[in-house]
């Protein structure tokens, strides 16, 4: 039933497109972490106006499907802003993934910052630190540890969600599997191969997550 030799041929072809998947993942992760941290701080400090905007932003990007957001960005926005016509599918995918996951990461980081007891800030202030020193030296390092499990889950979600980039025409592993499937009609083998690749990457990440968490918790409660 299962065409093993086809699976053997396909795997190296898919692996060639792995850098596209990993590139999307890494760039979008860095951008969504940075944007997410900014959003989390705005919400923690309840900055006037920015706080309401951040709430609206997070609500929108968590409340609508990623696929819809990607279409809105790639097919929709250039109609309103002609300058965006130059945007490539790859850039649009990164933009969409970054905006979408920054909303989730903001919530993960906000929760972690709030989980640090307020007496930690008060103790830092009581010795004469500025609020920004207290954040950088005392609160954020503790929040960082607390945020690792949730952020790792966001990261794994993001990795899997890069498969939606194929709907914009980005040729990453999912798109390649789709192309190979429709030319060879080996749909099962093609999608099985790509599924196994995601599964392997996610398993490796989960394994890494477990070890990072164990290390972070050493000597520190």
């Amino acid at each position: 039933m299962l065409d093993w030799s086809y699976l053997g041929q396909l795997t190296p072809i898919l692996i060639k497109y792995l850098p596209v998947t990993l590139g999307l993942t890494l760039v979008a992760t860095v951008l969504s972490l940075a944007l997410g941290l900014a959003l989390a701080l705005i919400k923690v400090f309840k900055l006037p106006i920015a706080n309401q905007l951040a709430t609206l932003y997070i609500s929108f990007f968590r409340g609508t499907p990623l696929l819809v957001q990607l279409f809105l960005i790639y097919y929709g926005l250039p109609q309103i802003f002609p300058a965006m016509k130059a945007m490539t599918a790859y850039s649009a995918a990164i933009l969409g993934l970054s905006l979408h996951f920054s909303a989730y990461m903001a919530e993960s980081m906000r929760g972690a910052i709030k989980s640090v007891p307020s007496h930690q800030t008060e103790a830092a202030l009581s010795i004469g630190m500025t609020l920004s020193q207290a954040m950088r030296r005392i609160i954020l390092p503790q929040a960082g540890r607390a945020a690792v499990p949730a952020l790792m889950n966001n990261f794994i979600d993001l990795l899997k969600s890069t498969s939606l980039a194929f709907t914009l025409g980005v040729t990453e592993i999912m798109a390649k599997a789709q192309q190979e499937a429709s030319s060879s009609f080996n749909f099962f083998e093609s999608f099985l191969a790509v599924a196994l690749m995601y599964w392997l990457m996610v398993s490796a990440l989960s394994w890494g997550q477990h070890h990072i968490e164990k290390r972070l918790n050493r000597g520190f409660a």
Binding site: Q120, E122, A123, S126, I127, G128, M129, Q133, R137, F220
Partner: protein, 244 residues
């Protein structure tokens, strides 16, 4: 000399206390006692700006700060001269015992690390915990954490140290380890403002005991007077209750 004049605080329009005046000479140990919820913690927190007072002036030697209107900069300057010891220790959980002390020296007072380390070590030695310098707070007992908390406050060389019930979160067996440290600080003429329910400590160590209740100072005096012959009936009732 430290002078506190006309300190008042409300929460959501509800007055906690008003018109509090207190004076401490160098080396004085003033102990504040009073029923739960009368604002003892709030009073200390107003003094170092963790809560904003509605009115009140603090004069710390040459520095005069209006606690109701002070900007962030003068509040920080005030805090550097005023140590704070928390009921729940509040040691920096991501820092070792030693780093808890050097943090303020290097980051706030801008003392180079090479000079900050010996200062911090000497304070750890004074509180008997030099051997725990690399331990994280979670690896220390409550009593040890509080001794580090006291060392953290004192290592910044403040003019006065505020203590908010420093022993009430401790096991009964470890209370004395912290009180003994505070006794020795008093002997070394450390100026302290202490909120506590430890009446024996107040009796032995205080230069003045202040009874706070019903939004103000009901009565204050030398411990031998206040404990033996409380004038106000509220003081009498309170003392009778805590003695039982």
């Amino acid at each position: 000399m430290i002078n506190i004049v006309g300190l008042s605080k409300t929460f959501n329009g509800q007055p906690v206390f008003s018109g509090i005046d207190l004076t401490l000479d160098t080396g004085d140990v003033v102990v504040i006692i009073g029923p739960s919820g009368t604002g003892k913690s709030t009073l200390l927190r107003c003094l170092n700006g963790l809560e904003q007072a509605d009115s009140g002036i603090i004069e710390l030697h040459d520095q005069r700060v209006d606690l109701a209107t002070a900007d962030a900069h003068s509040i920080r300057a005030l805090r550097q001269r005023m140590g704070f010891v928390f009921q729940n220790y509040a040691l920096f959980a991501n820092k070792t015992a030693l780093e808890n002390l050097t943090e303020g020296l290097t980051q706030v007072q801008n003392i180079p690390k090479s000079e900050a380390l010996p200062i911090a070590m000497s304070w750890l030695e004074k509180v008997g915990l030099a051997n725990k310098k690399d331990a994280y707070p979670s690896e220390l007992s409550g009593g040890q954490q509080q001794r580090i908390g006291i060392a953290r406050a004192l290592s910044q060389q403040p003019d006065i140290v505020l203590f908010d019930e420093p022993t009430s979160a401790l096991d009964p067996e470890t209370v004395d380890e912290v009180l003994n440290l505070m006794r020795s600080l008093a002997l070394q003429k450390t100026t302290m403002l202490v909120v506590t329910h430890e009446m024996q400590f107040a009796r032995e160590v205080a230069t003045e005991v202040v009874f706070l209740s019903d939004g103000g100072i009901v009565e204050s005096g030398r411990p031998e007077d206040l404990f033996k012959q409380p004038k106000d009936v509220r003081t009498q009732t309170f003392l009778k209750r805590v003695r039982q």
